[in-house]
Symmetry: C2
Subunit: 202 residues, 2 copies
């Protein structure tokens, strides 16, 4: 592996390609490291969870590692589902059940209080003997919930989230248009300069 | 009806008796007013919902009215279910489903972050021509969630809530013991002095 190899804490090929593009850097997915740990997301914040994952992968692989954690924060739910976005209905990754539950929970909430935002924290951990170097940044996209899902792109809560200034949900946008404004796009673009510093650090 | 008649915004006989005891005052339930409106709880806070209900009942009956709103606030859920406690799983009043959902949502949350509290807001509205007089007070009981429900008393989230300083859940306490420390007991005891002022106001 090259001196500036970077491990990305995902096994998802699509996400890997997308993030390689945003970061403008060659990345290696977790599939290349079968012994890498599955890190439980027990942190109270997106930042804590992204750091937990990036630290574990950096420690396990000995290579610089990038991880992210993200979710939907609904004003009328005091910012939840938040870090519990992927398991809001009780089981991990049940996208449709999670979305249905949020809509049911806000059913009596007046339209004026349907504000929401997607938030993403992205962490970079560079192992360096006893003292790892760490960076964590966040990106967000502010908008509101709609009550009737629209669109088939994206995943998770995309069909019920309409960013401010757009008539489309993030599930109705092209991947490129979504990247340009999305919480994940913003967080990873903010992380890119630090990644490009790694070479000079190691 | 006597000059100091007081309407309580509930159709539940048990709650009516309990609150009459706490308030040390004769109260009339909503069953005596078949035309009293069903007030949707659209407020963002317990206080707002209690006031919404008390105002509507006072306006509809022309009598002093008391209403409350209460719920469970879980630290790891940013204070939710909160005002959505009764409909957390999506349908109103599905106690078991609500409780099961909260337990599933905190399944990966470390024990140290299972802090929670029950909060109750109680409102008194005295109609007086154009300008009603209004009071709203809150009571709370602080404790933590347990992961395995215990007890058959109470209702709602009682089987998974253990108040600080007790080894019992609120579902394991006698009604009297629960009254003495509960959010609802505390709120209504705080409201009682204002209710006893009504006679001198009208």
């Amino acid at each position: 592996m090259s001196a500036d190899a970077l491990v990305l804490a995902t096994r998802n090929e699509g996400k890997l390609r997308e993030l390689a593009r945003i970061l403008d850097h060659q990345v290696i997915g977790l599939d290349a490291f079968p012994d890498a740990p599955d890190v439980p997301e027990t942190g109270a914040t997106f930042e804590a969870n992204a750091l937990l994952k990036a630290r574990a992968i950096a420690a396990s692989t000995g290579l610089p590692a990038v991880a992210d954690d993200s979710g939907l924060c609904v004003d009328a739910l005091n910012g939840m589902p938040g870090v519990l976005s992927a398991r809001w209905a009780g089981q991990h990754g049940a996208d449709q059940a999670n979305l249905d539950l949020v809509l049911a929970q806000v059913a009596d909430v007046p339209d004026a209080r349907l504000g929401a935002r997607f938030v993403c924290a992205a962490a970079l951990v560079v192992p360096a003997g006893g003292q790892a170097r760490e960076w964590v940044v966040t990106g967000q996209v502010v908008g509101r919930l709609i009550r009737v899902p629209r669109g088939t792109g994206g995943f998770g809560y995309d069909p019920i989230f309409q960013p401010n200034g757009f008539d489309l949900t993030t599930a109705e946008m092209t991947p490129e248009a979504k990247d340009a404004i999305s919480h994940r796009g913003r967080a990873f673009r903010a992380l890119a300069p630090f990644i490009h510093l790694i070479g000079s650090l190691s």
